[in-house]
């Protein structure tokens, strides 16, 4: 095998195993990626074949993200639930919704930031609740699935308390136990912090986003494939509903 191809494959193998390739780990591979244009070109081709997207940043080094239409890498719902620490699919979708709310807080459009500098658990909880309520009330469509906003809202309001303490004065805004809304929010935020997308200031419990987050949001949502997939999903759902209404 050509040595450039071999290097590119080695970098690829590290990336898909989630082993960092940056200035500290796998220094040589990283340097060859930056300086050798043939290696970079080969890696681009490989990455594209696996329906991934290659990102290179100063802080994180080189890493890959699965494109929206990726059929190679994926999770079962069970694995996802265990990553986020949720007990059922409704909570899983609520976590996704919380992540979306985080993005929407910091970004108006994928290339247009808001002036927000930080969020707190409470501010995110309020925002999630407000948006979810609006979405659940706006639709007349009865859909009993776990991923419907109505069901998610029902679960959120009826089966989860706001926090472990009824007495609002002693609420621990960092709580991560029990079946409460605050816990779900905190677990989602903890997931983002753990994977180096957000930064938590321990003193003030304020969460802010860091470059890796910005990098992904600005590129993933602008990507043509992402838009195609999301549009296709929307169209499918609309078709399904039309079918249900007609039936």
């Amino acid at each position: 095998m050509d040595s450039n191809t071999k290097t590119a494959l080695e970098i690829f193998s590290n990336m898909i195993r989630n082993i960092p390739v940056n200035g500290k780990t796998n220094k040589d591979l990283y340097r060859s990626l930056l300086t050798n244009s043939i290696v970079a070109a080969e890696l681009d081709e490989i990455v594209e074949m696996f329906q991934l997207e290659l990102y290179i940043t100063e802080t994180e080094g080189a890493f890959v993200i699965a494109k929206a239409n990726n059929k190679v890498f994926g999770y079962t719902n069970e694995e996802l639930r265990s990553r986020l620490g949720t007990k059922n699919n409704k909570e899983l979708y609520l976590c996704y919704f919380a992540i979306y709310c985080v993005i929407a807080t910091f970004y108006i459009q994928s290339n247009y930031r808001t002036q927000v500098e930080y969020i707190t658990s409470k501010s995110l909880l309020d925002r999630v609740e407000d948006k979810l309520t609006v979405l659940a009330n706006n639709t007349n469509i009865e859909n009993g699935e776990d991923s419907s906003f109505k069901e998610m809202h029902k679960y959120w309001m009826n089966e989860m308390n706001e926090s472990n303490n009824r007495n609002k004065e002693t609420v621990d805004f960092n709580e991560k136990r029990g079946k409460t809304r605050l816990t779900l929010i905190n677990k989602t935020l903890a997931f983002l912090v753990e994977n180096k997308y957000m930064d938590k200031d321990e003193y003030t419990s304020r969460y802010s986003i860091i470059p890796k987050f910005e990098y992904i949001v600005e590129r993933f949502f602008d990507d043509a494939d992402t838009k195609t997939v999301l549009q296709r999903l929307l169209d499918e759902e609309i078709e399904e509903q039309r079918g249900n209404i007609n039936a």
Partner: protein
């Protein structure tokens, strides 16, 4: 209590009242900003903006051109101002009312002005005014700006930010020339502060460049132009000032002997020393600033290039998408949006069919593949096959050995109980029969045989896998030509200890 902060704390507390006093000229404007016109009529007109317009008018027309300004003049000007800025035409009564309201807001509380103060740092200054009235000779009321107002007005524009470093340096130079070393040292802090402020501004300009659109780019260009203009000037001033300080220091050090040092000289020397150090720091900071400017200029090209590319690409709007989802009512696609935040996952799983294949390997199975393997000459012998054969051979051998022993025991009796036999057995028998690895297996297979005699289906029996025992029994029955067969049955609630700590159900072995 942090000891390091004590000096700064003292400086802060000493300075704050002075700083607050110097803010006094702005306070009236902060109050004016919140002034309201009578509701409903001029809702979109901002009191702060209009008042700034009036103060401007009073300065240019009143002070600089030394005109007498009366109510009517103000009214005329306001009419033009409001039309130009807000596109609203005020006439007649409404214009009169509007002018009156505006003057009331600026003069506040029937002309009393504003009372300003803070509980600790600044005792109340009362009746701070921007506009006062004078009676002219002809008896008409005239309007005039106060010194505070002029101060305020000048502060809000006259000195461009970018040249403040130059001005501060010039002031510093002057102070040094006049031997005002204490003041000079303090002034040096201002120079530093200016440079630090400019460094902070670079970041702001960068943000404006990225997100501010064409205005942002314009502000960047302006900033860079001014920076370029002043850079040479500032560098020259810095080096001149440093020269000056060093020369003075040396003068002090060499020409005047220490014994002639009075209080004043010692003080001056100390100041010059500190100024030297401070100025070094300032120069470093200034270099830093210039460095950042260079980087920013380089970035600017890249940023504007990227923006041109991005302009052609429609970006993803998060709230619009959420609305669309809301119409559908389903959050299913949210999964796709959260996915980029999860690490890549390669699913490791064993297909069930593969496991079955592995387990069935080597056993006579009716599948085509196996048949092929056995028939073709080219077939590769797989070790598992051989391994299984070895096991089978051992089992058959052991079974034969034990069953022959049973037959020997049954020579002179109809049946025997295993427990009894084991107890009476000698060492040799124990080792070879009862501690034989296949002994238990044999008993179990015999017991299983009992169940299967119920099933009369021949083919069913074959697949049960008891083929080893069946085979052995067939052979032995043929060899020994006995007229009976062996049957083993369990005895309820009875156990035998074959080896230490090892028990099995007691069985009875009989002729059938």
């Amino acid at each position: 209590m942090n000891e390091n902060y004590i000096k700064t704390l003292n400086t802060t507390v000493n300075e704050v009242s002075v700083r607050m006093k110097s803010l006094a000229k702005y306070y009236p404007f902060f109050k004016i900003m919140n002034g309201k016109y009578s509701k409903g009529e001029y809702e979109n007109i901002d009191a702060g903006e209009v008042c700034m317009g009036i103060i401007s008018f009073l300065f240019y027309e009143g002070k600089l051109k030394a005109q007498h300004i009366s109510f009517v003049n103000i009214q005329d000007y306001l009419q033009m101002f409001v039309e130009k800025v807000y596109g609203i035409k005020l006439i007649g009564d409404s214009l009169y009312k509007f002018t009156n309201d505006t003057i009331d807001i600026i003069q506040n509380s029937e002309g009393r002005g504003f009372d300003i103060g803070f509980p600790i740092f600044m005792p109340e200054i009362q009746n701070v005014k921007y506009v006062i009235n004078k009676s002219s000779d002809s008896g008409i009321k005239e309007f005039e700006l106060t010194p505070s107002a002029i101060d305020f007005f000048l502060e809000t524009k006259e000195f461009g930010e970018e040249s403040k470093i130059t001005i501060s340096l010039l002031i510093l130079k002057k102070l040094i020339e006049h031997n005002e070393y204490e003041s000079a040292l303090i002034s040096l802090t201002n120079v530093n502060a200016e440079v630090i402020k400019q460094i902070a501004r670079v970041y702001e300009i960068e943000m404006a460049l990225m997100y501010g659109g064409s205005l942002g780019y314009k502000s960047f260009l302006e900033y860079r132009e001014l920076a370029d203009k002043h850079q040479a000037e500032e560098e020259k001033l810095f080096s001149e000032t440093m020269e000056q300080i060093r020369t003075l220091r040396e003068d002090y050090a060499t020409k005047v002997s220490k014994s002639q040092f009075g209080e004043k000289e010692i003080n001056a020397f100390r100041c010059l020393d500190e100024m030297d150090k401070e100025l070094n720091k300032t120069v470093e900071l200034h270099q830093q600033l210039l460095g950042k400017l260079v980087i920013l200029s380089r970035k600017a090209n890249e940023i504007s290039r990227k923006k041109k590319i991005n302009l052609l690409r429609p970006s993803f709007d998060f709230s619009t998408h959420l609305d669309k989802l809301g119409q559908i009512g389903s959050a299913k696609s949210m999964e796709y949006m959260a996915m980029p935040f999860f690490l890549l996952n390669i699913q490791k799983s064993f297909a069930l069919s593969k496991i079955n294949e592995m387990l069935d390997f080597g056993v006579d199975s009716p599948s085509k593949d196996d048949v092929n393997l056995q028939n073709t000459e080219i077939a590769i012998t797989i070790n598992t096959d051989k391994f299984n054969n070895e096991i089978r051979e051992r089992v058959i051998h052991n079974y034969k050995y034990i069953i022959n022993y049973f037959f020997d025991l049954l020579k002179d009796r109809d049946s025997f109980i295993m427990g009894d036999v084991i107890m009476e057995a000698d060492e040799y028998t124990r080792e070879n029969i009862f501690k034989n690895p296949d002994f238990i297996g044999l008993i179990l297979d015999f017991l299983r045989l009992n169940e299967e005699t119920v099933i009369s289906d021949e083919e069913g029996k074959k697949d049960k896998g008891n083929s080893s025992l069946e085979k052995v029994l067939k052979d032995i029955y043929m060899d020994r030509l006995e007229n009976y067969k062996i049957k083993i049955e369990t005895i309820n609630d009875s156990y035998i200890e074959i080896a230490l700590g090892f028990r099995m159900t007691n069985v009875i072995i009989r002729k059938v």
